[in-house]
């Protein structure tokens, strides 16, 4: 199998995921036309991915974001996001932040990793039909929030005559009842 070293890091994204394609569009726009990141949808050909990197498994690629580096290494998850932010022209300033160490911890990288992990978990709730389902805790929290939002909307509709009119007025009484 022949693998060709890419000139720029290749960011693989799920082309069927609305969240992922939106983020990919942001990365493309942030690159300002410069070839600093090569964006490619994961696609459906395991062999094509293996040509990029023999250790790249298509199932893994759909599970977690992968960045194939020109030196043949791969970064995944939060580490891939950090590398993208370090590379893009308009977020290159973050390099200093990501280089900061507090003991053995890099706080900025840790925060990005936690952010990515959270986003990856809730992607199905944000319109990704191909990203599976969230775990039970997230589903439970999401359900509770939806119920609260629904209750709030209903309450607001009921109270609208009192709070949303330019000249507050009470609900109209049925005057005909006494005529």
């Amino acid at each position: 199998m022949v693998t060709h070293a890419p000139a720029a890091p290749i960011l693989l994204y799920n082309g069927e995921c609305a969240v992922c394609t939106r983020i990919a569009a942001w990365v493309r726009a942030s690159a300002h036309g410069t070839p600093v990141i090569d964006l490619r949808p994961i696609g459906d050909d395991p062999a094509a991915l293996a040509r990029l990197n023999p250790h790249l498994d298509i199932w893994d690629a759909y599970e977690i974001v992968h960045l194939v580096m020109p030196d043949g290494s791969m970064k995944t998850g939060g580490a891939a996001v950090v590398e993208v932010l370090r590379t893009l022209p308009n977020t290159r300033w973050s390099r200093g932040l990501f280089a900061l160490h507090v003991g053995a911890i890099r706080p900025a990288a840790w925060i990005v990793d936690a952010g990515y992990t959270t986003l990856a978990e809730i992607r199905p709730l944000l319109g990704c039909a191909s990203c599976g389902s969230t775990n039970a805790v997230v589903r439970s929290v999401h359900g509770t929030l939806e119920r609260l939002a629904s209750t709030w909307r209903n309450d607001r509709r009921a109270l609208a005559p009192y709070f949303h009119s330019a000249s507050p007025r009470r609900p109209r009484a049925d005057n005909n009842a006494h005529s």
Binding site: D45, I58, E63, E121, S130, G132, N135
Partner: protein, 124 residues
């Protein structure tokens, strides 16, 4: 997001429009064909289970896959509406099918072998 468990078990052969006739329809013995897509989350969750089932079957029944994103015509020919869908073949004819996810090894094994179980309960 939980990491996918390491792939264990047998590899699943991928067949496409060009090889479907020889690898499935003209093949001898029972074959289960998974119509799937790599972007399908249910297929992704099922993959390690399917590999384990393939290893347990140990060649008594072959398992193959068709990527519906690549071979849409083949999927249309077999009326595939959802992924994953398993279609069981014997001697070139369909003998059973099952739609949707089956995340347990035992239940998937049952589903894939049931069409080939004879009246006396003996498989294959």
């Amino acid at each position: 997001m939980a990491d996918r468990p390491p792939a264990v078990g047998a590899e699943i052969e991928t067949v496409g429009a060009a090889s479907f006739e020889t690898r499935v329809l003209e093949a001898r013995g029972p074959i289960a064909v998974e119509f799937m897509s790599y972007g399908c989350s249910h297929c992704r969750a099922l993959e390690p289970v399917l590999r384990e089932v393939a290893a347990r079957l140990d060649g008594r029944e072959r398992i193959a896959r068709v990527n519906v994103a690549v071979d849409a015509d083949l999927a249309a020919t077999y009326g595939i509406r959802v992924t994953p869908t398993f279609v069981m073949f014997r001697d070139g004819g369909e003998v059973g099918r099952s739609e949707g996810p089956h995340p347990q090894v035992a239940s998937l094994t049952t589903i894939l072998t049931r069409p080939f179980v004879s009246g006396d309960g003996a498989a294959w």
